[in-house]
Symmetry: C2
Subunit: 146 residues, 2 copies
């Protein structure tokens, strides 16, 4: 798809870009077309979701396209675009997502185990450019992991 | 398999257990049959491995049964048995494994993306009872993740 980006009063600087080009540019910059990512809108309760846990730093809710009997996303409120954008300052926050995962797994009754997954970038299968941890369980997970 | 656990001088307290029972008990306790886990022995250079990165807290080395062109394990030196054994005190360490993953992914040329996986327990597919992060890349990862 092609879109026209107009600059009011400066029609001669209007540029035609493909959506893919804009998405790629935004991904590289760590910024995105809307002000809030999908997951920020869920965390802010702008969009409904089946929220299982939340605190000051993250929110956990069920994936709308579950791939296991239990499939939960754990998302930091800070809209870090991906693992590639992590700095040392994010380490406690990222670790916190896993103690939350442990708590959610326990509350969901996953006493036989579970798997956690971060996808990063296109080949990793990342679809939303806001860091999100997948927690899957309730069935035997196979190997390889995709 | 059945094993006899003798108590010298106290033969009457010797007990016959199945290996599965002992492994299950050890897993629940977070303790294991040998003093060091396989991954501790790799980290301590008792067992050779293709080590890509190491620091005071963790070591990264290639999986000996790779499931992608790049398949690296990132293992804390602290022998935390699994995600189920994490406490808040572990959060910075667990987060650190991901900044190491980002660095290893970059040094392995995974500019198109990658996936990270923790398996926990039997249904999660965990095989070694020492927390270890799988980093996979170099091909398109599919969905679901196992």
């Amino acid at each position: 798809m092609i879109v026209l980006i107009p600059f009011p009063g400066l029609w001669f600087t209007s540029v035609v870009y493909s959506v893919e080009t804009i998405q790629s540019w935004c991904y590289q910059q760590g910024t995105f077309m809307s002000e809030k990512t999908l997951f920020q809108r869920i965390a802010d309760r702008d969009i409904p979701a089946d929220i299982l846990y939340e605190d000051d730093t993250c929110v956990a809710f069920r994936d709308i396209a579950p791939k296991a009997p239990v499939h939960v996303l754990i998302v930091p409120r800070d809209p870090i675009p991906s693992l590639d954008h992590l700095t040392e300052a994010h380490e406690p926050l990222v670790g916190h997502l896993f103690t939350v995962a442990r708590q959610v797994a326990a509350s969901e009754g996953l006493i036989r185990g579970y798997r956690t997954v971060f996808n990063c970038g296109e080949e990793g299968g990342q679809e939303v450019p806001h860091l999100h941890l997948h927690l899957l369980g309730g069935r035997q997970m196979s190997w390889p992991p995709g």
